[in-house]
Symmetry: C2
Subunit: 253 residues, 2 copies
Protein backbone atom coordinates (compact mmCIF):
# COMPACT_ATOMS: atom_id res chain seq x y z
CA UNK A 1 0.00 0.00 0.00
CA UNK A 2 1.49 3.38 -0.95
CA UNK A 3 1.78 6.17 1.59
CA UNK A 4 -1.35 8.23 1.79
CA UNK A 5 -1.15 11.82 0.54
CA UNK A 6 -1.66 14.97 2.57
CA UNK A 7 -4.61 15.19 4.94
CA UNK A 8 -6.57 18.42 5.54
CA UNK A 9 -8.60 19.19 8.64
CA UNK A 10 -11.16 21.95 8.13
CA UNK A 11 -13.63 23.34 10.68
CA UNK A 12 -17.21 23.43 9.37
CA UNK A 13 -18.34 27.02 9.93
CA UNK A 14 -21.84 28.41 10.19
CA UNK A 15 -23.68 25.85 12.29
CA UNK A 16 -26.07 27.80 14.55
CA UNK A 17 -26.92 27.17 18.20
CA UNK A 18 -28.47 23.68 18.23
CA UNK A 19 -31.98 23.12 19.64
CA UNK A 20 -33.83 19.79 20.05
CA UNK A 21 -34.86 18.43 16.66
CA UNK A 22 -32.21 20.41 14.77
CA UNK A 23 -31.16 18.67 11.53
CA UNK A 24 -27.39 18.49 12.00
CA UNK A 25 -26.86 16.39 8.88
CA UNK A 26 -28.32 18.91 6.47
CA UNK A 27 -26.55 21.83 8.19
CA UNK A 28 -23.24 19.98 7.82
CA UNK A 29 -23.99 19.14 4.19
CA UNK A 30 -24.79 22.80 3.47
CA UNK A 31 -21.90 24.39 5.37
CA UNK A 32 -19.23 21.72 5.03
CA UNK A 33 -19.80 20.55 1.41
CA UNK A 34 -18.41 17.10 2.17
CA UNK A 35 -17.64 14.39 -0.38
CA UNK A 36 -17.88 10.63 0.00
CA UNK A 37 -14.10 10.57 0.61
CA UNK A 38 -14.25 12.70 3.75
CA UNK A 39 -14.74 11.98 7.42
CA UNK A 40 -17.07 14.32 9.30
CA UNK A 41 -16.32 14.59 13.03
CA UNK A 42 -19.05 16.00 15.28
CA UNK A 43 -18.70 16.76 18.96
CA UNK A 44 -21.11 14.86 21.15
CA UNK A 45 -22.58 17.91 22.79
CA UNK A 46 -24.44 19.23 19.75
CA UNK A 47 -25.61 15.73 18.87
CA UNK A 48 -27.01 15.35 22.39
CA UNK A 49 -28.65 18.78 22.24
CA UNK A 50 -30.26 17.99 18.87
CA UNK A 51 -31.54 14.75 20.41
CA UNK A 52 -32.97 16.56 23.44
CA UNK A 53 -30.55 14.96 25.91
CA UNK A 54 -30.43 18.06 28.12
CA UNK A 55 -31.69 17.75 31.71
CA UNK A 56 -32.49 20.55 34.19
CA UNK A 57 -30.96 19.63 37.52
CA UNK A 58 -34.08 21.05 39.26
CA UNK A 59 -36.04 18.12 37.94
CA UNK A 60 -33.75 15.47 39.44
CA UNK A 61 -34.42 13.94 42.88
CA UNK A 62 -31.26 12.30 44.18
CA UNK A 63 -31.62 8.91 45.84
CA UNK A 64 -29.69 7.60 48.81
CA UNK A 65 -26.69 6.17 46.91
CA UNK A 66 -26.28 9.39 44.91
CA UNK A 67 -26.51 11.57 48.03
CA UNK A 68 -23.92 9.52 49.85
CA UNK A 69 -21.48 9.44 46.90
CA UNK A 70 -22.03 13.15 46.27
CA UNK A 71 -21.13 14.09 49.83
CA UNK A 72 -18.01 11.89 49.59
CA UNK A 73 -17.01 13.72 46.41
CA UNK A 74 -18.16 17.23 47.31
CA UNK A 75 -20.46 17.13 44.27
CA UNK A 76 -24.05 18.05 43.46
CA UNK A 77 -26.19 15.01 44.43
CA UNK A 78 -28.53 15.70 41.47
CA UNK A 79 -25.60 15.39 39.04
CA UNK A 80 -24.44 12.17 40.71
CA UNK A 81 -28.00 10.79 40.50
CA UNK A 82 -27.88 11.32 36.73
CA UNK A 83 -24.39 9.80 36.51
CA UNK A 84 -25.65 6.65 38.26
CA UNK A 85 -28.72 6.48 36.02
CA UNK A 86 -26.50 6.69 32.93
CA UNK A 87 -24.07 4.04 34.22
CA UNK A 88 -23.88 0.27 34.56
CA UNK A 89 -21.24 0.42 37.24
CA UNK A 90 -19.08 2.78 39.28
CA UNK A 91 -15.46 1.88 38.45
CA UNK A 92 -13.70 4.40 40.73
CA UNK A 93 -14.64 7.41 42.86
CA UNK A 94 -12.06 10.20 42.66
CA UNK A 95 -12.64 12.72 45.47
CA UNK A 96 -9.59 14.73 44.40
CA UNK A 97 -11.08 15.57 41.02
CA UNK A 98 -14.66 15.37 42.37
CA UNK A 99 -15.69 12.82 39.74
CA UNK A 100 -16.96 9.29 39.45
CA UNK A 101 -15.34 7.12 36.82
CA UNK A 102 -18.09 4.82 35.61
CA UNK A 103 -18.93 2.37 32.88
CA UNK A 104 -21.78 4.03 31.00
CA UNK A 105 -24.84 2.15 29.84
CA UNK A 106 -23.14 2.01 26.41
CA UNK A 107 -19.97 0.49 27.93
CA UNK A 108 -17.66 3.53 27.81
CA UNK A 109 -15.42 4.10 30.82
CA UNK A 110 -15.19 7.82 31.50
CA UNK A 111 -15.69 10.57 34.07
CA UNK A 112 -19.25 11.25 35.28
CA UNK A 113 -20.79 9.06 32.56
CA UNK A 114 -19.83 11.72 30.04
CA UNK A 115 -22.31 14.20 31.53
CA UNK A 116 -21.15 17.75 30.87
CA UNK A 117 -22.33 20.90 32.58
CA UNK A 118 -20.48 23.44 30.44
CA UNK A 119 -22.08 24.90 27.32
CA UNK A 120 -25.42 23.28 28.14
CA UNK A 121 -27.14 26.43 26.91
CA UNK A 122 -29.22 26.90 30.09
CA UNK A 123 -28.02 27.58 33.62
CA UNK A 124 -28.37 24.56 35.88
CA UNK A 125 -28.80 22.20 32.92
CA UNK A 126 -26.47 19.37 31.95
CA UNK A 127 -25.96 17.44 28.74
CA UNK A 128 -26.05 13.62 28.72
CA UNK A 129 -24.29 11.49 26.10
CA UNK A 130 -26.51 10.40 23.18
CA UNK A 131 -28.51 7.29 24.01
CA UNK A 132 -26.88 5.36 21.16
CA UNK A 133 -24.02 7.33 19.57
CA UNK A 134 -23.59 4.76 16.75
CA UNK A 135 -27.24 5.29 15.83
CA UNK A 136 -26.70 9.07 16.03
CA UNK A 137 -23.79 8.78 13.60
CA UNK A 138 -25.83 6.63 11.19
CA UNK A 139 -28.77 9.06 11.28
CA UNK A 140 -26.53 12.07 10.65
CA UNK A 141 -24.83 10.23 7.80
CA UNK A 142 -28.19 9.48 6.24
CA UNK A 143 -29.30 13.10 6.64
CA UNK A 144 -26.09 14.26 4.95
CA UNK A 145 -26.73 11.87 2.08
CA UNK A 146 -30.34 13.08 1.78
CA UNK A 147 -29.08 16.67 1.59
CA UNK A 148 -26.14 16.33 -0.80
CA UNK A 149 -26.14 12.81 -2.24
CA UNK A 150 -22.78 11.80 -0.80
CA UNK A 151 -21.83 9.45 2.02
CA UNK A 152 -18.84 10.69 4.08
CA UNK A 153 -18.02 8.69 7.19
CA UNK A 154 -19.41 10.26 10.38
CA UNK A 155 -17.88 10.19 13.86
CA UNK A 156 -19.50 11.39 17.08
CA UNK A 157 -16.77 12.27 19.59
CA UNK A 158 -16.15 13.34 23.16
CA UNK A 159 -13.15 14.26 25.35
CA UNK A 160 -12.19 11.44 27.70
CA UNK A 161 -9.45 11.21 30.30
CA UNK A 162 -7.08 8.26 30.18
CA UNK A 163 -5.48 5.92 32.69
CA UNK A 164 -1.83 6.81 33.41
CA UNK A 165 -1.57 9.92 31.25
CA UNK A 166 -2.68 13.39 32.33
CA UNK A 167 -4.92 15.28 29.91
CA UNK A 168 -8.08 14.53 28.01
CA UNK A 169 -8.11 13.54 24.35
CA UNK A 170 -10.98 13.41 21.91
CA UNK A 171 -12.18 9.87 21.16
CA UNK A 172 -14.93 8.39 18.99
CA UNK A 173 -18.05 7.25 20.82
CA UNK A 174 -20.14 6.63 17.70
CA UNK A 175 -19.36 6.08 14.03
CA UNK A 176 -20.92 5.20 10.70
CA UNK A 177 -19.22 4.46 7.39
CA UNK A 178 -15.89 3.53 8.89
CA UNK A 179 -14.40 0.63 10.80
CA UNK A 180 -13.16 2.11 14.11
CA UNK A 181 -10.24 -0.33 14.07
CA UNK A 182 -7.81 -0.70 11.18
CA UNK A 183 -6.87 -4.37 11.43
CA UNK A 184 -3.16 -4.99 10.88
CA UNK A 185 -3.08 -8.52 12.26
CA UNK A 186 -1.08 -10.84 10.04
CA UNK A 187 0.57 -8.04 8.06
CA UNK A 188 4.33 -8.25 7.69
CA UNK A 189 7.05 -5.63 8.04
CA UNK A 190 9.54 -4.84 5.27
CA UNK A 191 11.73 -7.72 6.47
CA UNK A 192 8.85 -10.20 6.43
CA UNK A 193 8.30 -10.29 10.21
CA UNK A 194 4.84 -10.03 11.67
CA UNK A 195 4.08 -6.50 12.90
CA UNK A 196 3.80 -5.84 16.63
CA UNK A 197 1.01 -3.37 15.96
CA UNK A 198 -2.19 -5.31 15.58
CA UNK A 199 -5.20 -3.04 15.46
CA UNK A 200 -4.97 0.71 15.04
CA UNK A 201 -7.71 2.78 16.71
CA UNK A 202 -8.32 4.80 13.57
CA UNK A 203 -11.62 6.36 14.67
CA UNK A 204 -9.95 7.64 17.84
CA UNK A 205 -7.00 8.99 15.83
CA UNK A 206 -9.42 10.82 13.52
CA UNK A 207 -11.30 12.20 16.55
CA UNK A 208 -8.03 13.47 18.05
CA UNK A 209 -6.98 15.03 14.75
CA UNK A 210 -10.30 16.88 14.42
CA UNK A 211 -9.93 18.31 17.93
CA UNK A 212 -6.80 20.20 16.80
CA UNK A 213 -8.97 22.31 14.50
CA UNK A 214 -11.55 23.04 17.15
CA UNK A 215 -11.77 25.45 20.02
CA UNK A 216 -13.60 24.17 23.10
CA UNK A 217 -15.29 27.50 23.78
CA UNK A 218 -16.44 28.06 20.21
CA UNK A 219 -19.74 27.17 18.64
CA UNK A 220 -17.89 25.17 16.01
CA UNK A 221 -19.09 21.62 16.56
CA UNK A 222 -18.15 19.91 13.28
CA UNK A 223 -14.89 19.32 11.47
CA UNK A 224 -14.22 17.82 8.03
CA UNK A 225 -11.16 15.63 7.41
CA UNK A 226 -10.10 15.31 3.77
CA UNK A 227 -7.62 12.82 2.32
CA UNK A 228 -8.77 9.85 4.38
CA UNK A 229 -11.02 8.23 1.80
CA UNK A 230 -9.28 4.89 2.23
CA UNK A 231 -10.99 4.56 5.60
CA UNK A 232 -14.52 5.32 4.35
CA UNK A 233 -16.78 2.34 3.61
CA UNK A 234 -20.10 2.39 1.78
CA UNK A 235 -22.10 0.57 4.45
CA UNK A 236 -22.34 1.90 8.00
CA UNK A 237 -20.00 -0.76 9.42
CA UNK A 238 -19.79 -2.11 12.96
CA UNK A 239 -19.95 1.16 14.94
CA UNK A 240 -17.82 2.09 17.93
CA UNK A 241 -19.40 -0.36 20.33
CA UNK A 242 -17.14 -3.07 18.89
CA UNK A 243 -14.14 -1.06 19.97
CA UNK A 244 -14.79 -1.55 23.66
CA UNK A 245 -12.63 -4.14 25.36
CA UNK A 246 -14.79 -6.95 26.70
CA UNK A 247 -14.76 -6.99 30.47
CA UNK A 248 -13.20 -10.46 30.63
CA UNK A 249 -10.22 -9.17 28.62
CA UNK A 250 -9.92 -5.94 30.56
CA UNK A 251 -6.99 -5.91 32.98
CA UNK A 252 -7.68 -2.43 34.35
CA UNK A 253 -10.97 -2.36 36.24
Amino acid sequence: MPDPGPIRIVPVDGIPEVEPGFDLGSAIARNGTPTGEDVIVISQKVVSKAEGRVVELDRVSPGEEASSLASELGQDPRLIELVLAESREVVRADPEREILITETNHGFICANAGIDSSNAGRPDAVVLLPEDPDRSAREIREAIEDACGCRPAVLVTDSFGRAWRIGQVEVAIGCAGIDPLDDWRGRKDLGGRELNATEIGIADELAAAADLARDKTSRNPAVKIEGVGRFVRPDHGPGCSGQLRPRAHDLFR
Copy 2:
Protein backbone atom coordinates in the same frame (compact mmCIF):
# COMPACT_ATOMS: atom_id res chain seq x y z
CA MET B 1 -9.63 32.94 20.70
CA PRO B 2 -10.84 32.54 17.08
CA ASP B 3 -11.20 29.12 15.55
CA PRO B 4 -7.94 27.92 14.08
CA GLY B 5 -7.77 27.62 10.30
CA PRO B 6 -7.26 24.43 8.30
CA ILE B 7 -4.55 22.00 9.34
CA ARG B 8 -2.47 20.01 6.86
CA ILE B 9 -0.72 16.73 7.60
CA VAL B 10 2.05 15.91 5.14
CA PRO B 11 4.34 12.86 5.16
CA VAL B 12 8.04 13.78 4.90
CA ASP B 13 9.34 11.72 1.98
CA GLY B 14 12.87 10.69 1.15
CA ILE B 15 14.32 9.70 4.52
CA PRO B 16 16.61 6.69 3.89
CA GLU B 17 17.05 3.58 6.04
CA VAL B 18 18.36 4.88 9.36
CA GLU B 19 21.66 3.59 10.79
CA PRO B 20 23.25 4.47 14.16
CA GLY B 21 24.54 8.05 14.16
CA PHE B 22 22.21 9.13 11.33
CA ASP B 23 21.38 12.85 11.49
CA LEU B 24 17.58 12.75 11.46
CA GLY B 25 17.22 16.48 12.06
CA SER B 26 19.07 17.54 8.95
CA ALA B 27 17.34 14.88 6.81
CA ILE B 28 13.96 16.20 8.02
CA ALA B 29 15.02 19.82 7.38
CA ARG B 30 16.12 18.90 3.84
CA ASN B 31 13.16 16.70 2.89
CA GLY B 32 10.38 18.30 4.91
CA THR B 33 11.23 22.02 4.58
CA PRO B 34 9.54 22.84 7.90
CA THR B 35 8.86 26.32 9.25
CA GLY B 36 8.80 27.51 12.84
CA GLU B 37 4.99 27.23 12.75
CA ASP B 38 4.97 23.47 12.09
CA VAL B 39 5.03 20.40 14.29
CA ILE B 40 7.33 17.57 13.15
CA VAL B 41 6.22 14.13 14.31
CA ILE B 42 8.80 11.32 14.22
CA SER B 43 8.15 7.70 14.99
CA GLN B 44 10.19 6.34 17.84
CA LYS B 45 11.68 3.50 15.88
CA VAL B 46 13.91 5.58 13.63
CA VAL B 47 14.94 7.75 16.57
CA SER B 48 15.95 4.61 18.48
CA LYS B 49 17.82 3.25 15.47
CA ALA B 50 19.71 6.51 14.99
CA GLU B 51 20.63 6.37 18.67
CA GLY B 52 21.86 2.78 18.41
CA ARG B 53 19.08 1.36 20.61
CA VAL B 54 18.96 -1.93 18.67
CA VAL B 55 19.83 -5.15 20.53
CA GLU B 56 20.56 -8.59 19.08
CA LEU B 57 18.65 -11.15 21.10
CA ASP B 58 21.66 -13.53 20.84
CA ARG B 59 23.58 -11.25 23.17
CA VAL B 60 20.94 -11.40 25.93
CA SER B 61 21.18 -13.95 28.79
CA PRO B 62 17.81 -14.25 30.47
CA GLY B 63 17.79 -14.40 34.27
CA GLU B 64 15.48 -16.43 36.46
CA GLU B 65 12.61 -13.93 36.69
CA ALA B 66 12.60 -13.41 32.91
CA SER B 67 12.66 -17.13 32.22
CA SER B 68 9.78 -17.79 34.55
CA LEU B 69 7.64 -14.92 33.19
CA ALA B 70 8.51 -15.91 29.62
CA SER B 71 7.31 -19.46 30.10
CA GLU B 72 4.10 -18.16 31.69
CA LEU B 73 3.53 -15.93 28.64
CA GLY B 74 4.82 -18.27 25.93
CA GLN B 75 7.39 -15.62 25.04
CA ASP B 76 11.10 -15.50 24.23
CA PRO B 77 12.94 -15.24 27.60
CA ARG B 78 15.58 -13.00 26.02
CA LEU B 79 12.91 -10.47 25.04
CA ILE B 80 11.38 -10.60 28.52
CA GLU B 81 14.84 -10.06 30.06
CA LEU B 82 15.13 -6.84 28.04
CA VAL B 83 11.59 -5.79 28.98
CA LEU B 84 12.46 -6.16 32.67
CA ALA B 85 15.73 -4.25 32.23
CA GLU B 86 13.83 -1.40 30.57
CA SER B 87 11.12 -1.33 33.27
CA ARG B 88 10.65 -0.08 36.80
CA GLU B 89 7.76 -2.40 37.49
CA VAL B 90 5.58 -5.09 35.95
CA VAL B 91 1.99 -3.73 36.06
CA ARG B 92 0.20 -6.72 34.52
CA ALA B 93 1.12 -9.96 32.72
CA ASP B 94 -1.24 -10.76 29.85
CA PRO B 95 -0.78 -14.39 28.75
CA GLU B 96 -3.58 -14.05 26.19
CA ARG B 97 -1.71 -11.40 24.22
CA GLU B 98 1.70 -12.78 25.29
CA ILE B 99 2.81 -9.42 26.65
CA LEU B 100 3.87 -7.79 29.87
CA ILE B 101 2.40 -4.40 30.64
CA THR B 102 5.08 -2.52 32.51
CA GLU B 103 6.03 0.91 33.71
CA THR B 104 9.16 1.75 31.74
CA ASN B 105 12.19 3.39 33.29
CA HIS B 106 10.84 6.67 31.86
CA GLY B 107 7.44 6.13 33.53
CA PHE B 108 5.35 5.13 30.48
CA ILE B 109 2.87 2.30 30.96
CA CYS B 110 2.82 0.17 27.83
CA ALA B 111 3.25 -3.32 26.41
CA ASN B 112 6.71 -4.93 26.65
CA ALA B 113 8.35 -1.64 27.70
CA GLY B 114 7.83 -0.40 24.14
CA ILE B 115 10.29 -2.93 22.74
CA ASP B 116 9.46 -3.71 19.14
CA SER B 117 10.67 -6.62 17.08
CA SER B 118 9.21 -5.61 13.72
CA ASN B 119 11.22 -3.48 11.31
CA ALA B 120 14.35 -3.78 13.44
CA GLY B 121 16.38 -4.05 10.25
CA ARG B 122 18.13 -7.28 11.30
CA PRO B 123 16.66 -10.69 12.00
CA ASP B 124 16.58 -11.52 15.70
CA ALA B 125 17.15 -7.90 16.68
CA VAL B 126 14.73 -5.70 18.63
CA VAL B 127 14.42 -1.94 19.03
CA LEU B 128 14.26 -0.37 22.50
CA LEU B 129 12.64 3.00 23.21
CA PRO B 130 15.06 5.96 23.26
CA GLU B 131 16.76 6.35 26.62
CA ASP B 132 15.30 9.84 27.07
CA PRO B 133 12.75 10.66 24.35
CA ASP B 134 12.43 14.31 25.50
CA ARG B 135 16.17 14.69 25.02
CA SER B 136 15.88 12.99 21.60
CA ALA B 137 13.20 15.52 20.59
CA ARG B 138 15.34 18.44 21.77
CA GLU B 139 18.39 17.18 19.90
CA ILE B 140 16.43 16.66 16.68
CA ARG B 141 14.90 20.12 17.05
CA GLU B 142 18.36 21.64 17.43
CA ALA B 143 19.66 19.71 14.40
CA ILE B 144 16.71 20.98 12.35
CA GLU B 145 17.49 24.53 13.43
CA ASP B 146 21.16 24.07 12.56
CA ALA B 147 20.18 22.85 9.09
CA CYS B 148 17.46 25.34 8.17
CA GLY B 149 17.40 28.10 10.79
CA CYS B 150 13.85 27.43 11.97
CA ARG B 151 12.44 25.89 15.13
CA PRO B 152 9.36 23.71 14.54
CA ALA B 153 8.11 21.74 17.52
CA VAL B 154 9.27 18.11 17.50
CA LEU B 155 7.40 15.07 18.82
CA VAL B 156 8.76 11.54 19.17
CA THR B 157 5.87 9.09 19.13
CA ASP B 158 4.97 5.42 19.54
CA SER B 159 1.83 3.27 19.28
CA PHE B 160 0.45 2.34 22.70
CA GLY B 161 -2.55 0.24 23.69
CA ARG B 162 -5.10 1.71 26.08
CA ALA B 163 -7.07 0.51 29.07
CA TRP B 164 -10.72 -0.30 28.20
CA ARG B 165 -10.55 0.42 24.45
CA ILE B 166 -9.33 -2.04 21.83
CA GLY B 167 -6.74 -0.79 19.36
CA GLN B 168 -3.47 1.06 19.61
CA VAL B 169 -3.13 4.79 19.02
CA GLU B 170 -0.03 6.87 18.45
CA VAL B 171 0.99 8.93 21.48
CA ALA B 172 3.84 11.33 22.22
CA ILE B 173 6.69 9.95 24.32
CA GLY B 174 9.03 12.90 23.83
CA CYS B 175 8.60 16.51 22.78
CA ALA B 176 10.40 19.80 22.39
CA GLY B 177 9.02 23.22 21.57
CA ILE B 178 5.50 22.45 22.69
CA ASP B 179 3.64 21.99 25.94
CA PRO B 180 2.17 18.47 25.82
CA LEU B 181 -0.89 19.70 27.72
CA ASP B 182 -3.04 22.64 26.66
CA ASP B 183 -4.22 23.97 29.99
CA TRP B 184 -7.89 24.97 29.98
CA ARG B 185 -8.33 25.18 33.74
CA GLY B 186 -10.22 28.29 34.73
CA ARG B 187 -11.50 29.06 31.23
CA LYS B 188 -15.20 29.71 30.90
CA ASP B 189 -17.78 28.48 28.40
CA LEU B 190 -19.93 30.85 26.31
CA GLY B 191 -22.41 31.08 29.19
CA GLY B 192 -19.69 31.95 31.71
CA ARG B 193 -19.54 28.52 33.39
CA GLU B 194 -16.23 26.85 34.08
CA LEU B 195 -15.37 24.24 31.43
CA ASN B 196 -15.44 20.55 32.34
CA ALA B 197 -12.42 19.98 30.11
CA THR B 198 -9.34 20.88 32.06
CA GLU B 199 -6.21 19.87 30.25
CA ILE B 200 -6.14 18.72 26.64
CA GLY B 201 -3.47 16.18 25.68
CA ILE B 202 -2.43 18.17 22.66
CA ALA B 203 0.85 16.31 22.01
CA ASP B 204 -1.04 13.01 21.96
CA GLU B 205 -3.67 14.48 19.62
CA LEU B 206 -0.93 15.67 17.27
CA ALA B 207 0.72 12.23 17.43
CA ALA B 208 -2.58 10.56 16.55
CA ALA B 209 -3.20 12.98 13.69
CA ALA B 210 0.24 12.31 12.21
CA ASP B 211 -0.38 8.56 12.29
CA LEU B 212 -3.24 9.01 9.80
CA ALA B 213 -0.72 10.09 7.17
CA ARG B 214 1.61 7.22 7.83
CA ASP B 215 1.67 3.62 6.82
CA LYS B 216 3.10 1.23 9.40
CA THR B 217 4.93 -0.87 6.82
CA SER B 218 6.45 2.08 4.99
CA ARG B 219 9.84 3.66 5.50
CA ASN B 220 8.14 7.00 6.07
CA PRO B 221 9.06 7.87 9.64
CA ALA B 222 8.36 11.61 9.77
CA VAL B 223 5.25 13.70 9.25
CA LYS B 224 4.84 17.47 9.17
CA ILE B 225 1.72 19.14 10.59
CA GLU B 226 1.02 22.65 9.32
CA GLY B 227 -1.46 25.17 10.75
CA VAL B 228 -0.72 24.44 14.40
CA GLY B 229 1.69 27.30 15.06
CA ARG B 230 -0.31 28.40 18.09
CA PHE B 231 1.02 25.33 19.94
CA VAL B 232 4.71 25.93 19.09
CA ARG B 233 6.82 27.70 21.71
CA PRO B 234 10.32 29.14 21.27
CA ASP B 235 11.90 27.31 24.21
CA HIS B 236 11.88 23.52 24.44
CA GLY B 237 9.23 23.45 27.20
CA PRO B 238 8.58 20.81 29.85
CA GLY B 239 8.79 17.67 27.69
CA CYS B 240 6.42 14.69 27.83
CA SER B 241 7.58 13.40 31.18
CA GLY B 242 5.32 15.98 32.85
CA GLN B 243 2.34 14.37 31.15
CA LEU B 244 2.59 11.18 33.16
CA ARG B 245 0.09 10.83 35.98
CA PRO B 246 1.93 10.64 39.30
CA ARG B 247 1.54 7.22 40.85
CA ALA B 248 -0.26 8.60 43.91
CA HIS B 249 -2.95 10.08 41.63
CA ASP B 250 -3.21 7.01 39.44
CA LEU B 251 -6.36 5.00 40.10
CA PHE B 252 -5.57 2.29 37.55
CA ARG B 253 -2.49 0.34 38.61
